[in-house]
């Protein structure tokens, strides 16, 4: 199925862009007329994915984050959030609840939350090359709301 609309944003991996990224994704998803709950889910997953690029991908440099959002005729919202940072050696382990290599303000629950808030969720990563997470969220048709 071909998307009916799409947008891509690229921005430096600075934490101030976390709020910007989830607002931009939510504004784009608004075309599907989502409920507050559906919009909240999208913002939450975007926030987790973008934060991971900012916190984990670039320990020594200021890299960039790419966020691509698409919407489909069947009412699906899809996003891919990618970095070209250090990558994840053991994805299965990284996805375990409470696993974190971060500091005191990290809980290790990012992947767990992304999985439970999205309808489908995948992680691709290559050490030294970067990480891409992709998710979809079904937006229920307006008549049923």
């Amino acid at each position: 199925m071909r998307p009916i609309n799409e947008m891509t944003l690229t921005f430096p991996a600075r934490s101030v862009n976390e709020g910007f990224a989830r607002l931009a994704a939510a504004a784009f998803a608004a075309q599907l007329d989502p409920t507050m709950d559906e919009l909240g889910d999208i913002k939450t997953v975007i926030s987790e994915a973008v934060t991971n690029c900012i916190v984990h991908a670039y320990p020594d440099t200021l890299g960039s984050v790419r966020m691509r959002c698409r919407i489909y005729p069947d009412g699906r919202f899809e996003a891919a959030v990618a970095d070209s940072g250090v990558g994840i050696a053991d994805i299965e382990k990284a996805r375990e609840p409470m696993f974190s290599t971060g500091g005191a303000e990290r809980s290790g629950m990012g992947f767990t939350i992304m999985e439970s808030f999205a309808d489908s969720f995948t992680v691709r990563s290559r050490p030294g090359r970067g990480t891409t997470v992709r998710f979809t969220k079904r937006i229920s048709p307006r008549a049923k709301k």
């Binding site: 709020g19 909240g40 939450t44 926030s47 934060t51 303000e105 809980s107």
Partner: protein
């Protein structure tokens, strides 16, 4: 993010206003750090009615505050949790380790 800390007669009330993410979490945890040096009242209330958004950074913030209050011999109650935050906390099973109202 706005952190308001009020000392009431027999309790401490902390209110968070705005969006809580990794960008804001460090500052919030630092504000909680100020509590360490003071004697904490036994009852501590965290009011989230003005929390516009949180992601998993909020989980670390709540766990950090809960530990701080418990170490001081008190008890933390989290009140007025908005639906979006509630979904995030539930996904992490937070209500099993702290008091929600």
């Amino acid at each position: 993010m706005d952190v308001k800390i009020e000392r009431l007669r027999e309790s401490l009330k902390i209110s968070l206003k705005g969006e809580l993410d990794q960008h804001e979490a460090r500052g919030v945890l630092m504000r909680f750090g100020e509590l360490e040096s003071q004697a904490l009242p036994a009852r501590c209330v965290l009011d989230l009615s003005a929390l516009g958004f949180t992601d998993s950074s909020g989980i670390a913030v709540l766990l950090g505050l809960e530990r701080r209050v418990r170490d001081a011999g008190g008890e933390l109650t989290v009140v007025n949790i908005p639906p979006q935050a509630r979904r995030v906390f539930d996904a992490a099973g937070l209500s099993r380790v702290m008091r929600f109202e």
